[in-house]
Symmetry: C2
Subunit: 206 residues, 2 copies
DNA sequence: CGCTAAACGGATGGGGTCGTCCATTTACGC
DNA sequence: GCGTAAATGGACGACCCCATCCGTTTAGCG
């Protein structure tokens, strides 16, 4: 059913406010703060988005799509290794730029249908990127797709402090890790953690 | 002045309870939960440890000392690289085993005199370990002491989920990073983040 | 054994967030 | 204009945590 004009307007203001609040203060920001920032009552916020999760899902729908498109770009790159590398760098940069995005990405919401679908697509794409980079002999053979999760979680931990510090730390960590992901001079590794992208649900919930 | 026998007894129970609670639930565990676990009233807890920080300081005094001794072991190893590597592996394992320790280590408390002194000593020791490993030609020349902070923060982020998952993830991450810390085949890196161990105060406070 | 100071712990007030309820306001079809 | 249903937002009760207060209990000395 159609929303009334004022309702539609307020919905947009809420989404904008939530986007900004999540980016700077993380997903734990009080609902009341989002409402205040949107110039709206708390009830309006709750009527439009019955749960915090539904708000988050809506807000990060776009960014998740961006994420998926980054995977597609990686697949389109004629150089498999460069595709892999750039993909990793971009996603990590996104993680650093938007604190809320990081949390949303790591926490995940099984209920959010959109999330599920987009994520499944991203997961297939990722496996493909990894496989191509290995086939080209540039990515070490014992690299596990779960190592990407490892990288994201590590990046999340490294990217604390002021935005400048976070960006610098992330760049350096990513550079270090990309180097050890390369096939040349690879040394033996302990077994991969039993994580799949799907396991992210359980992990970072706290 | 001397504590009465029952008071001393309760103090021990509180410290035990706090150690366990911090290890499993992190430093944010409610004071009341610690008191309950210790079989003690909240007031007793607050009388003995006026602030949460004082409790934390007391609880992690030992573990910090352990940390310092790990640095000493590294310095005592005739093989500088092995000393470095084992030191990193041990500290990261400690981080994984005790969630509270991680937070305490990263959060730090400028007021806690003991912390300050022990940490300053550890910091000097670390610089020495790094210098020796570089001099031996095993650690890459552009390795910055701040990279150890980077490693710890990354490890903290990676070590989420069940204890088994956390341990596996940490081991693998450390293996990856140690490999890229080696002098051989080192590739250019982006500049080191401007972090010193001292900067840890500001960073992970949330 | 009895007394007193030390220690105890439950109750309490203050602050904060969550999510709902309801009296009031507003859009918009007629 | 006007009436109605949709939309609004502040107030409210429930819950949780912190930290203190105070009436009660207990250790340990003489």
């Amino acid at each position: 059913m159609e929303l009334r004009a004022d309702a539609r307007h307020n919905r947009e203001r809420i989404l904008d406010a939530a986007r900004e609040a999540f980016a700077t203060r993380g997903l734990d920001v009080p609902m009341a703060a989002v409402a205040r920032r949107a110039g709206v009552g708390v009830a309006t916020l709750y009527r439009r988005f019955p749960s915090r999760e539904s708000l988050i899902t809506e807000v990060f729908g776009d960014e998740l799509a961006t994420c998926a498109s980054v995977v597609d770009e990686a697949l389109a790159d004629p150089d498999p290794w460069r595709g892999f590398r750039v993909m990793v760098e971009k996603v990590c940069a996104m993680q650093v730029a938007d604190r809320g995005f990081t949390e949303a990405f790591l926490t995940a919401f099984p209920e959010a249908v959109d999330f599920e679908r987009t994520r499944a697509r991203a997961e297939r794409g990722l496996a493909e990127v990894v496989a191509r980079a290995k086939a080209a002999g540039r990515l070490r053979a014992d690299f596990a797709p779960a190592d990407l999760v490892l990288l994201l979680k590590a990046n999340c931990g490294a990217a604390t402090g002021s935005p400048e510090e976070a960006a610098a730390a992330s760049r350096r960590l990513v550079a270090y890790l990309l180097q050890s992901f390369r096939a040349e001079h690879a040394e033996p590794l302990p077994p991969a953690p039993p994580l799949t992208l799907g396991h992210l649900h359980a992990t970072a919930t706290r």
